[in-house]
């Protein structure tokens, strides 16, 4: 079973949070510090789940989401955000355009990260 998780976030602390929360429990965590790198990694490694930050330098989260959809349309994506109003419109538009994604509210504790990951990859629909 594919246990590769990709986290795309420009903040190393956030990337570390996913690494520390998931690597202990048997997941392989890939990290990318910007959108372009994230899309490239996704294309190369074909992860089972992607955590995506919305606000990033360069390609922003919503644009990255569209690219990811092109590269690996079947991989579920979780937007990890503090719900800044700036991106909500674009996100809503993306949803209307047929892109599917989940939303998790920052900051996430280890337990929350694991719970989301488990529920997406293994368990029934919990969230």
């Amino acid at each position: 079973m594919n246990r590769r998780i990709l986290t795309i976030d420009d903040d190393p602390a956030v990337r570390d949070a996913f690494v520390f929360a998931l690597s202990d429990v048997g997941y392989e965590v890939e990290t990318a510090s910007d959108g372009a790198e994230g899309v490239e990694l996704a294309r190369r490694t074909a992860p089972a789940l992607i955590f995506l930050d919305l606000r990033m330098p360069g390609m922003d989260g919503v644009e990255t989401l569209r690219r990811l959809h092109e590269v690996c349309p079947r991989v579920p994506v979780y937007i990890v955000t503090a719900f800044r109003p700036d991106y909500l419109d674009e996100l809503a538009q993306a949803a209307r355009d047929g892109l599917r994604f989940g939303i998790a509210s920052k900051p996430l504790t280890s337990n929350q990260i694991r719970t989301i990951t488990h529920s997406v990859l293994e368990g029934p629909e919990v969230m």
Partner: protein, 642 residues
């Protein structure tokens, strides 16, 4: 002044070659001459008629007559009797010279009669200027310094005429008035001297006098340009009577009064105008004497029908600020300095206000005798001023409100900016927070450390959760700006807010009382924002009830005009009066440190103001705290097309 009369006369006189003979005896005086003479003497001038011989008056004046020798028997003589012997020769010489040359002569001499000597003056005039044909001398004897001089010096025109209306007297004033000298008029008939007067009133006057009636008129307008008369005159004509009462002539007195009359007219006009100014002027004018009694008032301060019965209408109203007004008048009397006072006079239709000025009126000789008071009714002006003052007060109040609102707006703006700032900071903190939380968690899980270190890490994780909660709270202020307003029911909003708090309330045994009438109108607002406000209020209520003996929260909604008001009340200890006015200040909190940000109420209020509503504190008699939210309601009409 020589007054003479050209008389009728006799046939030409022969040359004077015989020596004059003085008749020493009294000569007989014809009656009519004597009467005339006496009348004239009484008037101050003596006249004689030709052929009358010598005259003697009762008071001892004698008349001199002269005849050319040979013409009239006995012969040429001049009789000089009663003159002082020393004066007689001189007098005779003068009179003969007059006869010879025709030139007027004047002679002053002493006249003796009955042992009394008087100084008299004789004036004579020849009837014709050619000596040879002189036929007579007619003259007058005046008592020196007697009324003749007065007549001559009189300012009034004086003249006399005989039965034939021939002028026999004409003083200089008459000459000045009527532009004729004595020489031009004496001896002529009035009608000849003044043809234009023939049919005039003056002419008629002469005939009336000759008929024995006086003729007196004051201020007669006479325009007789030929006679030089144009103006107003006082005219007195008086008949002269002989000894038997018959009319022998008349005396006229004419005084021009044009200037006086005009001056009087001007005075009368001026007086009338002054009176009218005072009587009909807009102000009330009063005069008070030294004892402050009202001597005059053009009209009363208070209309008669309103004044007290026992007060004459010209006096002040008894309550008319008497003491003040009287004190001031007394000061004016004492010092002579003007003063003014605003007088309030009660009337049945309300108090009238008079601007009253007082000036001292000096007496004719010195000290102040009376006070003049001029009162102007300024009630309407005062009322207008009061209206303006009130308007000003209202304006000031409005201005104060505006300023307060402006301060409030500034406050709201500050809060909005603060919200944005807080949200920004919270967002920025989220990432490091997430990192630190997971680092600590990872360390706690994987560190084979003594129990104390594990305990410390657990505490660190707990503190981090507190920071996370705080950040979430702050993020609540980062409201999406573009949430649209919409129409919705308060039941659903309040229900949702309560749902969020149910667990908290149950855990703390807080009882909730809900009073939401079914027929509440829908409201127009941003639903998420409104929900946030209610959650804030419920959280505050929860915290306020932490140590309260009775734990109850009540939510009550009622419609108030175009708004719906929702009161959220807790049964806690309430907010002390001293800090009530601060509860909406940002960062003001009554909660212990770490329990509240102090932003909840200020943000909530800002949210309500933004949406045309409000959030206020309400006093509650029973204690506890009531915060009252008002929200614009939707009337049934508007509700159809929000």
């Amino acid at each position: 002044m020589p007054m003479g009369k050209h008389g009728k006369y006799h046939p030409p006189m022969p040359s004077a070659d015989a020596a004059p003979r003085v008749q020493r005896d009294r000569c007989a005086l014809p009656r009519h001459v004597q009467a005339t003479a006496e009348r004239l003497l009484a008037f101050g001038t003596w006249m004689w008629a030709p052929g009358s011989g010598c005259m003697e008056w009762s008071d001892g004046l004698y008349v001199l007559l002269g005849y050319r020798p040979g013409t009239v028997a006995p012969d040429y003589q001049i009789f000089v009797t009663a003159f002082h012997p020393e004066d007689r020769p001189r007098l005779l010489v003068q009179l003969e010279a007059c006869l010879d040359s025709g030139a007027p002569v004047s002679f002053s001499g002493r006249l003796s009669h009955a042992g009394r000597v008087q100084r008299v003056r004789v004036a004579a005039e020849a009837s014709r200027p050619s000596g040879r044909h002189l036929r007579c001398v007619q003259g007058a004897v005046q008592r020196a310094g007697l009324p003749e001089d007065i007549i001559a010096a009189a300012a009034d025109a004086v003249f006399a005429f005989d039965r034939d209306t021939r002028l026999t007297l004409w003083n200089p004033a008459a000459g000045r008035l009527m532009h004729r000298t004595a020489q031009q008029v004496i001896g002529r008939r009035v009608a000849e001297a003044f043809p234009s007067l023939a049919g005039s009133r003056a002419g008629r006057c002469c005939h009336r006098v000759l008929a024995g009636q006086g003729c007196h008129a004051r201020g007669v307008r006479i325009v007789e340009r030929a006679a030089g008369l144009n103006g107003y005159f006082d005219v007195d004509f008086t008949p002269l009577n002989g000894p038997t009462g018959e009319v022998t002539g008349g005396i006229g007195l004419v005084r021009e009064v044009t200037a006086q009359r005009r001056a009087q007219a001007r005075l009368r006009l001026g007086a009338r105008q002054s009176c009218s100014l005072v009587e009909h002027g807009p102000d009330i004018v009063m005069r008070f004497d030294r004892r402050l009694r009202c001597l005059y008032a053009n009209r009363p301060l208070v209309p008669a029908e309103h004044a007290a019965k026992d007060i004459p209408p010209t006096t002040l109203h008894p309550d008319a600020g008497r003491s003040l007004w009287y004190r001031i008048m007394q000061r004016v009397l004492a010092t002579g300095a003007p003063a003014s006072v605003e007088l309030f006079v009660p009337t049945p239709t309300g108090t009238r206000v008079f601007d009253t000025r007082m000036v001292a009126e000096p007496g004719e000789h010195g000290p102040v005798r009376s006070v003049l008071a001029v009162a102007r009714d300024i009630t309407e002006q005062k009322q207008a001023e009061e209206v303006i003052r009130q308007a000003n007060r209202r304006l000031a109040a409005t201005l104060g409100e505006l300023r307060a609102r402006q301060r409030q707006d500034v406050q709201t703006e500050k809060l909005t900016a603060l919200g944005t700032l807080a949200a920004g900071i919270a967002h920025e903190l989220n990432n490091p927070m997430m990192g630190v939380m997971n680092y600590v968690d990872y360390a706690r899980r994987n560190l084979a450390a003594p129990e104390t270190v594990q305990d410390v890490l657990t505490r660190a994780a707990r503190e981090l959760e507190r920071i996370r909660d705080l950040l979430k709270n702050m993020l609540a202020f980062a409201r999406p700006i573009d949430e649209p307003s919409g129409e919705f029911s308060l039941h659903s909003v309040i229900g949702a807010a309560l749902d969020l708090m149910t667990h908290e309330f149950r855990a703390r045994q807080i009882e909730v009382k809900l009073d939401l009438p079914f027929e509440l109108p829908a409201v127009w607002a941003k639903e998420g924002h409104l929900q946030q406000v209610f959650v804030n209020l419920l959280m505050n209520a929860r915290d306020a009830l932490a140590n309260a003996p009775r734990k109850e929260v009540s939510i009550r909604a009622i419609q108030e005009g175009t708004r719906v008001r929702v009161d959220v009340t807790d049964s806690g200890a309430g907010i002390p009066v001293a800090i009530r006015h601060r509860i909406f200040d940002p960062f003001f909190t009554t909660k212990p440190p770490g329990k509240g940000t102090g932003l909840g109420l200020s943000i909530s209020r800002a949210i309500m103001l933004e949406q045309g509503g409000d959030l206020v504190y309400r006093d509650r008699p029973g204690g506890g705290t009531t915060l009252s939210v008002s929200i614009p309601a939707i009337s049934s009409k508007e509700g159809e097309s929000p």
